[in-house]
């Protein structure tokens, strides 16, 4: 099967548009690829961190770096991620045998989807067998470039980069028939933990 659309680059373009509009309100800054966006984002964060001073280095939390982010940008990014995940999973599962159960679907998200998105698998998947699944990615790509200098300078901002993946997971699972809530936590600079709680009716 020849997939004419190259998935990731299309996704990242979409993401790039959204991110820049959401965060800067100006499309002119939109870059053509994710790499440029990444650079710019870091630059901007540096400035923001400098402006905010020492108060910004508070204990890092999952997805709430600032009130503005959590109120408007995160839901929006999450929602875009949802759309992307929902559509992407159709493409990825079309050659896959029918899933047996919930765990089978989770595994697919952890392996195939993650590989497609980030060129690596989720490192560990744990579950309590009661509808809670925990995915741990020890080297989460969107956070990987943060740690270049080996300092935790951007750790507080890392939460901004996991709203979109959260949405992707939620969208993918929703398309596979699992309604769930997804939350994520950045443990250290590159290690991200996603918690999926399946809604039981």
């Amino acid at each position: 099967m020849a997939d004419a659309i190259s998935g990731p680059s299309y996704l990242y373009n979409l993401l790039a548009n959204e991110l820049s509009v959401a965060l800067y309100g100006d499309l002119d800054k939109t870059s053509e690829n994710m790499g440029a966006l990444t650079m710019m984002t870091i630059k901007d964060r540096k400035a923001a961190a400098a402006a905010a001073g020492p108060s910004s280095s508070e204990a890092p939390v999952d997805t709430s770096a600032s009130a503005r982010d959590s109120d408007t940008v995160f839901p929006k990014l999450e929602s875009i991620g949802y759309q992307v995940g929902q559509r992407l999973i159709e493409r990825l599962t079309k050659e896959h045998a029918r899933f047996k159960d919930e765990l089978d679907r989770m595994k697919f998200v952890c392996t195939d989807l993650w590989k497609y998105l980030y060129d690596k698998q989720i490192d560990t998947l744990r579950t309590n067998n009661q509808g809670t699944y925990v995915f741990t990615d020890n080297l989460f790509r969107p956070l990987a470039f943060f740690s270049a200098e080996g300092v935790d300078q951007y750790y507080p901002q890392s939460g901004r980069f996991i709203a979109f993946p959260c949405g992707i997971i939620r969208g993918a699972l929703s398309a596979l028939g699992i309604r769930c809530t997804v939350s994520a936590k950045v443990l250290s600079v590159t290690c991200c933990v996603f918690e999926v709680v399946v809604e039981r009716t």
């Binding site: 929602s79 875009i80 949802y82 759309q83």
Partner: protein
Amino acid sequence: MQSTTTRQAPTASLPQRSMNPPDLPDPLFNLPPEVIPDPQPFIALCGLDFVHNATHRTIWECFASNRGADRLPILYQIVPADHEYPVSKIKKSYEYGTVPGGILKKNWIRKHMLEVPALVVLFADLEWDDPAFAEKKIACSSKIATVRASLAGRSTRIALVLVQSRPHTFAPGEPSPDSEKVNGLCNSCELTLKQVFFLPNNDQLMGYVIRLETALSEMVQQYYLNESKRVRGHRDAVMRMASQNLSLLVRHQFKIGYFNEFRQDKQTSLKHYQQAYLNLQQIRQDGGFEVKTVAMIIMYRICRLSFRLACPVDAISNFRKHLEVFRVYKGPLDLAYQHEAWLFRQNYIFGVIFDEAIQSGLSAIPSENPGVYFTKAADHMKLRQKNCLQFPPQQLSFVPTPPVDGEFYGQLILSVPSNSTEVPIAVYLQNCERAVNHTGWMIYLLNTAIAHFRKHRCNRTALMLFNRIGDEYSVIGAYDKAQALFSQGLAEYRKSKWSVIFSQLLLRQIRVSALIPNVAEFIRSTLEAICGESYLQQNDRLQLQETLMQILSGDRPDFRNLLRPQSQMAYQKWGSLPPEALLCVLDMDNVFSCVECHCSFDRPSFAAHEMITMTARLALTSPLPIPFSELQVVLSNPAYNSSCVVSGDTAHLNLVPDRVEEFKFQFQPLNEDVGRRISISKIILKMGTADKSSFILVWSHFGTTERPRQTHCAGFPFQLTGNESVPELQTSVDIIKRPPKVQVTAAAQELLLVGETFRLPIVVHNHEAALISNVQLHVACDDHGAVGKVTFASTGSAATFINDSTSPLSDIPPGESVDAAVLIRCIMGLKTRIRITLTYDLTEPSFQCAAETTILIQSVNPLQIKFMSRELHSEEYSSEKHVLPAGEDLIYFTVIRNASPVAIVLGAAELKFPEESVERVTVTPSYLTGVQLIEDEEAQDVWFLRIRAKCPPGSLIPMGPFVLTWNRRGSDQPSAMTFIPVPDLQVKSAHSPVKVYLTLPTQVTQFEPLNLAYGIVNSSEQLLDLHILLSTNDEYVLHGEKETHVRLGPHMDTVVHCSIVPINVGYMRLPEFEIQCGPDVDCREWIDAHLPKTVFVMPKNISSGDASVDRLMTTNVV
């Protein structure tokens, strides 16, 4: 099977079961009733006097009753001994080559099931010791002979059962002890021993009967095996013929199969039935009536056996092949309905068998369940009806006698008068067919199918069948039933968004509603059908709307376009409607109407003095404009309703397709609604003329409306993510208080002190344009955790401190300020917010407003109080454990430290103690009164006390409280009085016999001699010899004796003097004082506790400083 209560001789008969439901007769291809039950071996019982002999009746009941699954399948029948059995045909000249009259004789099954027994059992009451044994034996043998004669030519077995009431010890079948008698009986009856049984008539009769039944069953098996072998012989003969007679072959195969069914040998039966079926297919009669009938019978048995053998898949595939084989045999065109009738019957029969199998435990799946076959049966019934009705009914010139069944299955003999030879038989048969209630059958079949589909999780298929039933109902004119079914279907398809089906169904619903006539349903469905999302043709929508407009304008609709053939009927029915039928209220919830109606408040909340604004939007998606007469929004408080109405006279209620009309409503909130929520409960839209026809469309349940539709987000062409950008309807609104125009200023700039009364000044400035009255100042704690720890009081006289205080203020003219204050008292140090609320009334217009402010207060406890005690002569101060001797003079200190940054002034201090345990030695005036303490300063007060000697050692003396009066420096408020708990005193238990005291002068100077006077008291009751040692060191020069002997009588004292000259400046160690006074007296502890160890030495030429240095400073505080 048998009624045991009847007094008539019970006879076995066929179950009166037919495949047809009772009220739906249909003779065509009806399955003969004798084919339906499974064959059971048939045993005739004779010699039982059922009427007169109670024993015989019991025996019969044992045979006939409780024939459950645990009993062998046997059919019993009582026959008289001289019963005439069907005569056996002598087939010695069987000509296998002749063509028989048909395939299966109709009476054959019945004959072998009910008429020709496999075994005749003769019952006889015969005891071994019967005196008339010989006579009875002869009677028995004659009866046997009669039976045997009657069964001439048949291989039916005969058995003899002797009913014996006397007990005997051997089982039936065993040789009796009196073998001579038995043998005699056998010989006279020409029976073998195996054919004679004994039935003891006692309590265990039932058990014996069952054992007997098993024995009889073996004989029966043998009989049927022989029979099948006999027929097999015939078959083989037929097969050997050069030109095989297929009809005979089918017949023989069937018979072999049937005999094997008697034996319960299902596998063999199945094999032979299948063989019969194959042979039948070779008989080419172009789908002749007879072949189809026989095929049906054989297939019935095959499928039944397959299900019995737990091979449902085989049954289904056999059945499917069966249909496939006969699909092409359609027969003559004018009797095409017969083929459909046959197909209907096949599917119906199979459905019934399938259903039976499910009831006995088979589980089916959605794609294979009886419902599928019942549906197909209904399909064929429909075609059958169509095929039959396509021929115009013709009157026949004669009345034929009803057709007579022929000798063979599938043969019908029609006696036609000889003079009308060319009477078209087909016409006659068609006329017969018209009598069949096809529609009734279809409804019955579909309902059965629905039940099965529902059971097998096929709700969608079931729903489709509902609609088909609705169609059938509307064919026969049961429009109201049809309408109920359509409504059900509409709701489901609307929900599942299958719009094409929905629209089609809607059209049927409209037609049926017009024919009932049900005006409300008609209007509602029409409104839905003409909406823009409808999948109906534009032309249909136009015509529907034209009809609707006719009704709205009060005319009688003609329905010409809608219901072409029945339009006249509907027209007449509408004409006879009572006028009030055209006035109805239509519930528009859950309806995708062509009128869309939404109403929303412009904001989520409004203040009491504002006008509430609300916008209603109407949009129309029908092909033509519709005029409306009135729009009303009903709110939860009906008082506003008059403000929320627009009528067509004043507003533009003539809606035009694809344009959104907006209607603004505004009204003043009532004072009673302040603080409450108003919601939109309904929207009412009226259409039609008031006098002739009026329809009121009502929308409620706004919050649950499913689809805010495109029209509401016009101008927003793209939606990226779901419903994100669809504006939410504001269906309820909060009425909040009018915002105040009064400024309340308060600030607690200072720290509050715990216990003091703090006056918090509050300034109220009136920015309102008018005088405010009924002004109330309310203060309370904002933080739940601090409630009760901070109390408030108004500034009036005799204020009481409570958790929230309200104080009235005077009316304030516009632009002016009023100073108020509130008193605050904290009972502990804390940091909390307090809320100050000012409520006031405005008179013109009348509002109640409230202004609110919160301030942060912080309080600290200024008093840090320490209690210290010591014995008069001791150097040791104890602030934690107050362990003191009784009877000694004590000094008790209170140390008051100001722990707050606020300066305080101390007032009176009083130490309370129990007078009966403690007395005051000297009364000194309090030093504290008037003392000011700034941060970290301390003040001490002292009491000279003595514990009364009567207090037992070790007991605790409760002290306190210590009452201190104090105030913030410069405060105009009354002083605070603080009660401080005081630690208990404990009476010292040990008592030293010798006490030593040393008093040091206030000032010691370098190189000046210091006299040390050691006072020694003997507090024991005996004379003590004391050896006193003074050890020295090099910090001073000691003058006097280092070692002294003192003798002290009881309660006497003495003083030992010595003098030292300090050499160094600073702290100097004093000589160590040691008393040795015998082994049983130890006063080291006392000395350690009471004698000072060091003294501070001043340089020689420096004066001793201020005389007012506190006298206690001289004591050592290391």
